[in-house]
């Protein structure tokens, strides 16, 4: 019943979650990323192409400075960073590699362009300067020629040779700039070596100038070959191809995403249809449930209308049962009373039997003796009659003889004193019996009112006498304190005492058993304690001893009502009863009865406030060491 709604909620939640996932997946889309990526790639490709062109423009001096070949750096970096971010966002697994490859190719290109600028600037300077340098050399050589006009023509031819070599060098270098072949390079190198060796013999400034020409020629040779390598490298570096590759991959990823998107959309449609069907089913079920609910409601209303009658019926039945139960309880209590009475009567009968026996025998003996007395009386009567008739005083000895015999027999047997003793005995027996009857009467106290001031000590004495036949086989210790009278129903209190004392006796073994009875004033009332050194009560049994019908005695020996009734009586008197016990050591019952039944202390109090003297008493006299008092 309870799991139904939870399951329904879970199912609903799962259904909505599924729908949410599908809607999210469907709505994800490329969100303009595709357009962005392709725009960036297009820009990058344009910049890249323009960059390569600008290198050539710089080379051919259409560009007057290197700003156009330096400016793209920042843009290329930025676009690559953006593409990297996009790749990370879209499909890092597929795109990270190609982005890195592109970055690598751009790094190569940047390096080549940096080299190009270094080489191009030096190359141009040297190419521009070399003609000047050569003509400066020629001017210096002219001065040499003029100053050397007096010298032999060998010197002049040497000057002319240097001029020729310088011109050839210049031509060679310019040719090399146009077409960098190994042949021309070797030729120029040869000319440079010759220039150095020839000018060595000339004045210092000529040699220095030749050295400048050599330096710059070498710069051209070196930078030109380097520049060719760099330019072909720039043409070769595959930035454009890598951009295309990356663009294709981006397109592929976006296409794949679009396909996935389509699948999700189809999934969404199918799922929606399913949910719709489910919804209809649920609606149908709901309608059905509603209908059965409606029916149930009708039944319930009908049941409600008849409920009151049924309640009334049941109530009266219960009332009957209760009164029956009370009656049963009363009967049970009565039965217990009768059982107690039975026990008591048996004891009392036994007690009466003994004096009765010797009263009987005394009377029987006295009766037997009475025959002699009758004979004496007869003889005496005869003698008196003969004395009256014999006026002449003629006493016949024979007339006195039987009387003398009888009286001497009386004197000899002491019949009269014996009779006296016998009658005394009889009277004693009768007095014994009457005492027992008095006790019985005292015990039952049927003659006294419920609200009587009663001396509990007196109750104990009479109870002990009533229970004489059980008690006499145990040692009884009485410590009866100076206690106030208690307003109570004496017969009921006596029943309590009898029950506790007989229970104590039954718990102990005959001859060695000791039962201690203590009374003392306590607060506004009286405490009565009955202790024994018997077998004790187990903790488990202790919780039940006041329950009706609980007994440890054999079937037929006890009703199990004794202590239950005791508890009832004590409570009715506004007192309490408690028990403590230790198995094998003994048991202590404590009863508190208030002087009047107005204020009854809490029944839990006694254990806490048990005075020391009582405990000491226990230890000294019974050896009962109860955990509750320890």
């Amino acid at each position: 019943m309870k799991r139904g709604p939870v399951l329904a909620m879970l199912a609903l939640g799962a259904g909505l979650a599924g729908l949410g996932v599908l809607v999210y997946q469907t709505s994800k889309g490329d969100a303009g990323l595709r357009a962005q990526a392709s725009a960036y790639l297009r820009d990058l490709k344009e910049i890249d192409a323009e960059w390569s062109l600008d290198v050539l423009r710089s080379k051919s001096e259409i560009n007057k400075n290197y700003d156009p070949v330096s400016a793209p750096l920042r843009n290329v970096d930025k676009i690559q960073d953006t593409l990297g971010d996009l790749a990370k966002q879209i499909d890092p697994a597929t795109l990270r590699g190609p982005v890195a490859v592109l970055a690598q190719s751009f790094a190569e290109k940047v390096e080549l362009i940096d080299n190009f600028k270094m080489q191009d600037s030096l190359l141009k300077n040297s190419l521009r300067f070399l003609p000047t340098a050569v003509s400066e050399l020629k001017e210096q050589l002219q001065l040499v020629r003029e100053s050397d006009s007096a010298k032999p023509s060998g010197a002049a031819s040497s000057v002319a040779d240097i001029e020729r070599i310088a011109d050839a060098t210049l031509t060679g270098v310019l040719r090399y700039d146009l077409s960098a072949s190994a042949e021309i390079k070797a030729e120029v190198e040869r000319l440079l070596a010759e220039l150095v060796s020839r000018s060595a013999a000339q004045p210092e400034d000529v040699a220095a100038q030749a050295g400048v020409i050599v330096n710059h020629s070498r710069v051209v040779l070196q930078q030109k070959s380097g520049e060719d390598a760099v330019l072909s490298g720039i043409a070769r570096v595959s930035t454009a191809g890598n951009i295309d590759t990356l663009a294709d991959l981006f397109e592929n990823v976006f296409d794949a995403n679009a396909r996935t998107q389509k699948h999700w959309r189809q999934g969404l449609i199918a799922y929606s249809a399913m949910l719709f069907a489910f919804l209809i089913l649920a609606a149908f079920r709901l309608f059905d449930s509603y209908r059965s609910l409606d029916q149930a409601k009708g039944r319930l209303e009908f049941a409600n209308s008849t409920l009151e009658d049924r309640v009334r019926e049941r109530t009266s039945a219960l009332t009957d049962a209760l009164s029956n139960l009370k009656e049963s309880q009363l009967q049970l209590i009565q039965a217990e009373k009768m059982a107690s009475l039975g026990q008591m009567v048996a004891g009392v009968a036994h007690e009466i039997n003994t004096p009765l026996a010797y009263v009987k025998s005394s009377v029987q003996v006295a009766r037997a003796r009475m025959r002699n007395v009758n004979q004496l009386v007869d003889e005496s009567a005869k003698l008196v009659a003969s004395l009256r008739s014999d006026s002449n005083q003629k006493f016949a000895a024979a007339d006195f003889e039987p009387l003398r015999e009888i009286t001497s027999e009386f004197a000899e047997t002491g019949t009269l004193s014996e009779l006296d003793v016998l009658l005394g005995d009889g009277l004693y027996g009768i007095s014994q019996i009457s005492e027992i009857v008095l006790n019985l009467k005292n015990f039952s106290r049927l003659d006294r009112a419920y609200n009587d001031d009663y001396d509990i000590n007196e109750g104990i004495e009479s109870t002990l006498r009533i229970a004489q036949n059980i008690v006499k086989k145990r040692r009884i210790r009485k410590v009866l304190g100076n206690i106030p009278t208690v307003r109570c129903a004496p017969s009921q209190v006596n029943q309590v005492l009898l029950n506790l004392i007989t229970n104590a006796c039954h718990a102990t073994v005959e001859d060695t058993g000791t039962v201690s009875i203590v009374t003392r004033p306590h607060e506004q009332g009286v405490i009565v304690q009955v202790m024994d050194n018997g077998h004790g009560i187990s903790a488990e049994a202790r919780t039940k001893i006041f329950d009706p019908f609980f007994t440890t005695k054999k079937v037929g020996e006890g009703t199990g009502l004794g202590l239950s009734i005791v508890q009832n009586i004590v409570k009715e008197h506004g007192g309490w009863i408690s028990v403590s016990s230790q198995v094998g050591k003994g048991t202590l019952f404590t009863v508190y009865l208030p002087r009047s039944q107005v204020a009854a202390p809490s029944p839990n109090e006694p254990e806490m406030s048990m005075p020391n003297d009582v405990v000491e008493y226990q230890h000294q006299h019974t050896g009962v060491a109860d955990e509750q008092f320890a």
Binding site: K64, N65, D67, L73, K117, M118, N125, S126, V219
Partner: protein, 337 residues
């Protein structure tokens, strides 16, 4: 009623004609002004752009300006960007090598911060691709700021007002990337338009006759092969000692700084290769070269002739070139609006 309408229509048409006439006159006036100053279009050097054309966020410039002088960027709060890039001193400190944190002497001559946004790369060996990256290089350098971004952010983060300024400008507030952005934006605004820029823009009398002659020599001797473009350099690498060996002649030990770009790439062809420095404000930024060995502009020009151009020139020509170089000094510095 009809007359009124037609009258109104005539008035409107008249006003329209007048407006058209005014517009035409204005355009032609501007055209004539432009004709008077035709920018030199075919020169290897180009004028600085107008600051407005860079479209920098003035709030970022303002923030960057504060951060530029902020010692909290360094570990012990003693060194800021402006310690080495002294704006009043041509954007550098005038030392052979700069003094960084705990009075440590740096390895290299500090380049000027002015117009540095126009350089194609940063540092002498070009190891930073942007001004933002350049800041990272300084922050982590044990001789410069000797710190880390987390500790910089912790120091700056204690300043509630500064934090608020960041929050106002940047959605994510005080972050390393935003500190760098503000500093770099400020640095990009540090353009120094000079008389020479006015000359390039067509104002012929902006240069003296000698300076113009010097510019001619600058081009004809080939200085312009490397020092060209918008920043008169700063857009390429070149070997120091391209024609005649420099380091052999200089003597002394070859330091790590002398290796130049080789230290970054490890390629033999990059040994002693440096970024060609901008010559804007060159008259203010002595001593010269990465090693600060040339104390005067004349010495520097001498070294360049010998080692880079591999030729000699009359003293007069060199003097004229120096004259020209002095015209590259900005007329306005720190053009923060």
């Amino acid at each position: 009623m009809g007359i009124l309408v037609s009258c109104g229509a005539q008035m409107a048409s008249l006003i329209r004609s007048a407006a058209l006439l005014a517009a035409t006159l204005t355009v032609s006036w501007f055209a004539s002004q432009a004709a008077a100053q035709v920018p030199l279009s075919d020169e290897p050097l180009r004028p600085l752009p107008a600051l407005e054309s860079l479209k920098l966020d003035p709030r970022k410039i303002g923030l960057g300006e504060k951060l530029f002088v902020d010692g909290r960027l360094s570990e012990d709060r003693t060194v800021s960007c402006s310690t080495c890039h002294v704006l009043a001193n041509g954007g550098m400190d005038g030392f052979v090598a700069s003094v960084g944190i705990r009075k440590q002497i740096g390895a290299i001559n500090a380049p000027t911060v002015f117009n540095s946004g126009l350089n194609f790369r940063q540092f002498w060996n070009g190891r930073a691709a942007s001004l933002e990256d350049q800041i990272d290089g300084v922050v982590g350098n044990p001789k410069e700021f000797d710190t880390t971004w987390p500790s910089i952010l912790a120091r700056l983060g204690d300043d509630a007002e500064l934090r608020k300024t960041f929050d106002d400008i940047y959605p994510d507030g005080l972050q390393a990337v935003n500190v760098k952005d503000a500093l770099a934006t400020y640095e990009r605004s540090l353009l120094t338009p000079s008389r020479f820029d006015r000359f390039l823009q067509g104002q012929e009398d902006a240069l003296t006759v000698e300076e113009k002659a010097g510019y001619g020599k600058f081009k004809s001797y080939g200085c312009v092969a490397c020092h060209q473009g918008i920043n008169v350099g700063g857009n390429m690498f070149q070997k120091f000692g391209a024609v005649n060996d420099y380091f052999g002649k200089r003597g002394g030990n070859i330091t790590e700084a002398d290796l130049g770009r080789f230290k970054i790439t490890g390629r033999e062809t990059d040994r002693h290769v440096f970024k060609v420095p901008s010559l804007r404000n060159v008259a203010l930024t002595a001593p010269y070269f990465h090693d600060g060995t040339a104390t005067t502009l004349e010495q520097a020009v001498e070294v360049m002739f010998l080692h880079q151009l591999g030729r000699s020139a009359p003293q007069e020509d060199k003097r004229l070139i120096v004259q020209f170089l002095r015209s590259l000094t900005g007329e306005r510095f720190g053009s923060v609006p």
